[in-house]
Symmetry: D2
Subunit: 386 residues, 4 copies
């Protein structure tokens, strides 16, 4: 029996939590061999050093690909992607995988897709078919059109991918692997670590033991110049409310420095006594922190996915998650400070009333993905279905 070499490219911290259990399942599958490529911001300290977590989780990294160009503008996003195509083309040329996996919709995922598709390597796209509100939207669907096989995270997404002209027999709803971790956490939800002791972070030694919220706000690319202004609004509200808060740093994007600078500035000047700032946590700890929180505030996709399954109330700010299928746990608000304040006040009282929702999977996605990868007929040639 020949073993399939499956090359998975992880380009950012959030992508890793969305694929981790699938990586494990691929690694353990007798008919599969994992080739793990860590690239882009996943290698960089100022975006949370995902690479360290990946290695400490016991994965062997087959190639590291540095490709992030500095620059506080959208041009650098394009150039990072161009460089990524060149670098990943080499990587695949050397690793000779039987299939390449590209994850979701971050801008640099198109680099993976092009490098694989142009070299006639079967391309598997994870988590296509969703809907959001900016460049991610274009990237995700372009990935779909370059991909040969689609592993989506919800029934909505499956329908959408098929409608786009993809052959239904190559579209599978596997749910999202991030729910696998949420599933594990949900089974024994106690907060079994002290966040400040374990992760340090900066800022005040907040009194989180009596209840806290979690904040995670990313820049939105098409509103580049507003990134700083928007994060300051949220900072002012959370500071004013005085509820103990764990605040997480954003990941890399064209506006990253806008948001980061906003946070750094506010911290310097106001030293908000109720906020503790973190770069990141291992996914399981992060979910444990969430399930024990009163509410998640910001625009992270974790609010849409994992929090639906965990039953955590979410104040989702702005347009970043626009269009994504969501559960009753999510309350959407604009960047208006009064709206955000009101929404947080409201949400933190709703914790007990939020049910668990399986729209993004049941907790066995990793395994499902590995099984499909082992059995599906690989192809690199397709035509639109209409």
């Amino acid at each position: 029996m020949s073993v399939r070499k499956i090359c998975v490219v992880v380009t950012a911290r959030p992508s890793y939590s969305r694929i981790k259990t699938a990586l494990k399942a691929i690694q353990e599958h007798p008919k599969l061999q994992l080739q793990l490529v860590v690239a882009g911001s996943a290698l960089l300290g100022r975006y949370g050093n995902a690479v360290d977590y990946i290695e400490s989780d016991g994965f062997k990294i087959d190639a590291k690909v540095f490709m992030v160009l500095e620059g506080e503008n959208k041009t650098s996003m394009a150039k990072t992607t161009g460089l990524g195509v060149m670098e990943l083309a080499n990587t695949f040329y050397n690793l000779k995988p039987d299939a390449v996996v590209t994850i979701a919709d971050r801008f640099e995922t198109l680099a993976t897709s092009i490098a694989a598709a142009y070299q006639n390597i079967p391309l598997i796209h994870i988590q296509g078919g969703e809907v959001t509100g900016n460049i991610d939207e274009k990237v995700r669907h372009a990935n779909t059109k370059l991909a040969d096989i689609h592993l989506v995270a919800s029934e909505d997404a499956k329908v959408r991918v098929i409608k786009m002209g993809e052959d239904a027999q190559y579209v599978f709803n596997t749910g999202c692997p991030s729910i696998d971790i949420a599933n594990k956490v949900k089974k024994s939800p106690e907060l079994n670590f002290n966040p400040i002791e374990k992760y340090g972070g900066v800022g005040n030694d907040i009194n989180w033991q009596t209840g806290y919220i979690v904040v995670m706000q990313h820049p939105v690319t098409t509103e580049y110049t507003k990134a700083k202004e928007n994060v300051l609004s949220t900072l002012r509200v959370v500071h004013k409310l005085g509820i103990p808060a764990f605040w997480f740093w954003p990941n890399v994007d064209a506006g990253a420095d806008g948001t980061s600078n906003g946070i750094r500035l506010y911290r310097e000047i106001y030293k908000p006594e109720n906020i503790r700032f973190f770069k990141n946590m291992i996914p399981e700890d992060f979910l444990r922190l969430l399930i024990n929180s009163k509410c998640l505030v910001g625009n992270s996709s974790v609010g849409i996915r994992e929090c639906a399954y965990l039953g955590v109330p979410v104040v989702n700010i702005g347009t970043r998650q626009q269009g994504r299928t969501r559960g009753v746990n999510v309350f959407d608000v604009s960047y208006n400070e009064d709206d955000i304040e009101l929404a947080i006040k409201n949400r933190i009282t709703k914790k007990s009333q939020i049910p668990s929702d399986s729209i993004y999977g049941n907790g066995n996605s990793g395994e499902k993905i590995a099984n499909i990868l082992a059995d599906v007929a690989l192809r690199f040639h397709k035509t639109i279905s209409y």
Copy 2:
């Protein structure tokens, strides 16, 4: 009245003939300013020096972008595209266009699309929605998903783009500008030049005055190693038939050297006395040569489009044009030599029976395109329609 800067990126000789009349119309439109970027193989002597024709047609070139990587494999296609993204990102950053136009489905057109879309420049895709049989298929539809506005060449294509989830009010059937040139040629079809005198070429001084065929065969990327073998089959048949033939060199692709080497080899060894080889001609002369020919042989898209309008019989070999809407002028065959021979013998007798077909436009596409570019609401933000 402010004038819109429309940046058109031409990356190859065949793309130029598909856009030429639109370039003219943009240039002459009072509400538009043309920014012309010539890139990729369009700059290179061994792919026909499209740049010289563009300049001799009176267009001013705003930027030349060298991006083609050498190498006889598919890796270089990927790397060329990656390099193209980086270079074109710069180009657009400096030219600051109001919209960027990417043409059709060659592999490097994705570079144009990414460089524009990631910088929030409205992207217009020309000739999406068609169907073919290899990497072009993936590239074309990925271009569609990155583009904001779609100018397609047939009703079939329009329906397909809308089905893919694009907003119908941003999808326009303009026909193909190549038909504009065909239209002009059809009005006064006489062969008013001596091909060998005007263009030289290499090989025998064939006796074309009493009737001839035209051959144009490109490599098919997903069948890389077969490119040489396939072109040799066609060479053997055309040589054996003895009909005077004008044979045109292929354009750049991963297999280009396979096909080119096949031709060069055959020429050296057999010196086929009935074949004259050309690098290329200006589009109008080429169409004039076609309308006066007995038949076009090979796998060029000219056979599908211009020849439909001109009423020229076509022997279309292999899978390259698979899926494209075609008229009664086209007869499809495999790479089998006997089939090709039979098909040519049959087609060359059918010249007078082929009607003109307007599936790809009526001869006013350039003007239509310019008018839409002047009036359409530009956007760089979209969501899928379902």
Copy 3:
């Protein structure tokens, strides 16, 4: 009279202060036209936004070149340089300068040199012939061997460049343009601004009015992993001494984040009450701050050059300036904390005893450079002199 187009590439904040008066003189010279390219870290906020100072000084920028690759290792230095070659090759191709100027010895200056030399554009190297102790050493002399004309900053340097096999008639000692600014400051040395009011900075509102020191410590590339440790040593000493200190952020290098993180960490934990941290100042203000200080501590080349002319005592730490011609103002120490402490204590008492030294010029370098650029015979072809 034809005007020579002189293209100067500024890739970092410190390079700008070393060339500013020459830029002015080129701009004003009737026989010269300045083409200013700002590239690399000079464009980036986290390295001091040199571009803003350049623009506010009234220079028009002809091209901005983003080329810095993120990554906390030496690989990214190499890749930044490679990308720089590609980008600057384009830039020169488009600007068509009569000569290109590359400045000193930062790693990315080789990109400028290659992009010019390979395109047969006469290359002028500023500030070759010096001696230091790491990758800069190799880069500087490689620049010399690629350059056609050499404008050096001291007699020592001139001798050295000629010894390396360069034709003496193309080697000119112009002094360093940074001394031109120092000259202006020296003529009216009063501290005519409040540093904290004008530049903000972060940290305590230190009592600098009664005497202060200035600190500026850069990472040393070949001691990458030690960057953090080394900066912490200096921080501890300065903190312990309690003297009011203005501390300046380092510029970009492979170890930048090591040093920066060291500083950030120390600030967070110890909040040193006698230190105020700044990103940067306009060169004139910075020199004014220096001439009024008790001493400069760190490893900046400003200590070797401008401080020699200004008569400011310097504690020069470590190997970074090793080999550079220096005046009596400089006292060299290792990274040992006791040594640093003793040296600072000693130096701050020596202020009145340090004479002004003209080893790096007399204050008219900018003008000299412009005159040479206007009159020298340009060439792009040379052979070694022995």
Copy 4:
């Protein structure tokens, strides 16, 4: 005993013959492990497919690096080099060699040097210290200034490298490995193969058995536009003289297509009956062909080195080898056709009078190189010696 990993980068066909015996000796040395990187034009069919010869000689290739950019101008030389830096930085990052070897002075060798030096990998430069007349001159000496250890091919070269400021204890005269192959051929010089039967080639079946000349003419980069004109001069003379000639295709350079097109054109039109054209031969066969020839014509460095040792008369045309130490076998001429004609007529009568000359080595260079690589103290830090 730990084994040193020596990474040698071969970027072109002629570089391979200059290093082959050293590769063998490294491979067989108990204290060394060879890491062989084949890059640039050495991978490309149209420059002679050096990679095939390397593999058929039994070398295992550790990495293949595609980096050649297409384009008929000097910009592409610069960009190829920039791309090379990026790609080779990756390659070295992954291979983790103890030292990197860069060969001679082709433009892209600077990419190897930068990628190694910037990553603090000890850099060994082979064949520095020579003198020639164009961009190679700058590249070679820049390589010297980036390199830590120098293995030169003649005493002249050794003196020159030391004069440039390099530490004499790191400069070794090993001779040139190409002489090792020449040595082997000289011991049994009979022409033991039929060139046309073994290598094919194109053109007439020339009558070489009764005496022949060999021609090899490369484009000279700083005379780009003249490449075609110059090769046509030589073609006309050789054609006119009527002596049977084996003509070898040039290697890649900015002007490659000028020369190649010149040759192709001349062949098509005049079909010179006394010339047979070859892409290339394995080095040993090529030297055997030379030692049995009446004379070598052109501008190849083989005429300066191997032919000195073999005692083959050379007509060296133009400036390409200007400045290189040469023996009495070489007669220099301009591009003037009359001069070339006269020189060939003269040289072909001198065969028996040319002595063997050891200026470039005695035939044991490969072994010497391996021994030095095994024993020299590796360093990546140096300062100029004056």
